[in-house]
């Protein structure tokens, strides 16, 4: 009785529920529609890539494309071998991970375990800022700052080898260095989260047993966070494999086997750099490269899912 006099217009409990149900229903439909569109996007992109990429793959022959080493798409007798391009993507990514991941993990450990609050308050925004820089800018800086430095190194190293084709500093090494910096934010933030979620008991136990702070980080905390750190690495790999804009400016862009001081072309840049002018079979072939890149990223994603599943299995 009391409540009714206080809220004369609120209606009955049943009416309220009906209203609520309607709202729930609408919300559910909106969410479902969004989810549907996302799936639609994924499926249509996949189908489009297959439709555009598979014909050329079959006409030229998968062996000739995937294992061929000569890329001459506009020659009188065109050759579409992308073996070196695939190798470059793999080697470049591996090199970038090799350079970037240790730095990233140590930075994450520093932020989560060692740095005092004031220092962390400086480093953390810096890392976040790094993530926000557009990739073209990385390329531009690489082109104007890093390449001349690497060229100086190249000139000294290859002074007495007349057969060396000088790249002007635009080579695999430069590309890997730029990629390494570009994957840092991902690696740092994901591993930092992983390290922070390690139960405090593990740290306490290690310290109680007389372990020093550094010992605790390396022997107790990092091993406990390994599945999260593995996720960080795989995410970094995904970022590196798909990067094109920055690499197009610093890698040189010639199709060569991946050696540190050779001008190289990555899968992603191979598509971007020639799409503008390509026609006919050449154009189709770029979609085939897209398909290869897509499969590579799918493999990375599959690895990620596997690691995540293993991770949850451990904790559960």
């Amino acid at each position: 009785m009391k409540t009714e006099t206080k809220h004369p217009h609120s209606g009955s409990v049943m009416a309220d529920r009906r209203k609520k149900n309607a709202a729930e229903g609408i919300a559910q439909t909106v969410f479902a529609a969004c989810a549907f569109f996302v799936i639609l996007a994924v499926v249509s992109i996949t189908l489009y890539l297959l439709a555009k990429g598979v014909p050329a793959l079959l006409q030229v022959g998968p062996g000739k494309i995937l294992l061929g080493t000569v890329w001459k798409p506009t020659a009188a007798e065109p050759q579409y071998g992308i073996f070196h391009v695939i190798l470059t993507s793999l080697a470049g990514t591996a090199l970038a991970v090799l350079l970037g991941v240790p730095v990233g993990i140590l930075t994450a450990a520093f932020l989560a375990e060692i740095a005092d609050r004031r220092l962390a308050a400086v480093v953390k925004p810096a890392v976040e800022l790094l993530a926000g820089i557009p990739s073209v800018l990385y390329g531009l800086l690489g082109l104007t700052l890093l390449n001349p430095l690497i060229y100086r190194l190249e000139l000294t190293l290859f002074r007495d080898s007349p057969d060396h084709r000088f790249t002007g500093g635009a080579n695999l090494l430069s590309a890997a260095l730029v990629l390494a910096v570009m994957i840092l934010p991902t690696v740092i933030s994901v591993s930092e989260t992983a390290i922070r979620s390690v139960p405090p008991g593990i740290r306490a136990a290690s310290l109680a047993l007389g372990g020093s702070r550094v010992q605790t980080v390396f022997r107790a905390v990092l091993p406990a966070a390994k599945s999260g750190i593995a996720t960080a690495i795989v995410l970094g790999v995904g970022r590196a494999v798909g990067e094109a804009a920055a690499i197009a400016l610093v890698a040189g862009g010639c199709v060569n086997p991946p050696f540190p001081f050779r001008s190289v072309r990555f899968l992603a840049t191979a598509i971007v750099s020639e799409m503008g002018y390509a026609a006919g079979r050449h154009r189709q072939m770029l979609f085939t490269i897209g398909l290869v890149l897509f499969s590579l990223l799918m493999a990375v994603n599959a690895a990620l899912t596997k690691i995540r599943k293993a991770g949850t299995g451990e904790h559960g």
């Binding site: 969410f31 001459k72 001349p148 040189g252 862009g253 026609a279």
Partner: protein, 302 residues
Amino acid sequence: MRKRIQRGLAACALLIAAIGYAGCGNVHAVPKESGTSSPAAMEEPEELSGSILLVGSTSMETYVRTLAERYMDSHPDVKVRAEFAGSGAGIEAVLGGTADIGNSSRSLKDEEKEKGVVENVVAFDGIAVCVDRSNTLAGLTKAQLTEIYTGAVTNWSEVGGRDAPIVVVGREAGSGTRNAFEEILGVRDRCAYANELDSEGAVMARVASTPGAIGYVSLQVADGRVKLLALDGVSPAAETVGTGEYILSRPFIMATFGEISRQNALVQSWFSYVLGGEGQETAVFVGLIPVNDIAAQEGGEL
């Protein structure tokens, strides 16, 4: 759970952005269609209205932008839109019917002509051979240039310069500039590039910042950041390209699907502007060589 919802929201936001973007595309497409099928324009050419879409070569960007601005000054009701995605993309767009005109800085291939694309040459462009500013060399012979680009000569001292390795910079396969350059020198698919870059700007930046580099760019793109080399004693300039003394040149093409006479009134008016006095004067203005010198002289006097 909250994370999942957040992710869902992020996906929604992306989706909405994507739909919004696609929507914009449609809005753009509308005036173009109304322009192409405007029957009134056929009878009264003074009151043309609608829009023309040009897609194609990045080398032609300065030229096409200047042309478009000047054309729209004298035809205020016509909107000229230009996209620069590469010669191949331009021809593709003309074939697909998404663009009225495809800009190409390379000659059309036979297969493209067979499909009905018509090659309308609107101007000629020189290709400048450039080196970084610290290079002491003033020029090369055609033979030396060929040797440098095929990799037979790898040090500047072999062609009369300082003792420094040559960094051979070029464009990507399929580029109009590369096509013309290799064709004229007769080094098609024999070039030993150290760098293959995908735009004129990238080549300029690379050559300017790399000691010992050599590259080629469209003449009107080359500026003071690099040093231009004379070829066989002829320095690259609009005049020397026009007289044929400077051998590295190529046509700029505005391709249409079918002859110009079969295009709509808007496109016809565009071509009569481009090939007429004012249009050819514009070509000279941006450093190109007009299709025929007579038209340019008339334009100069106007």
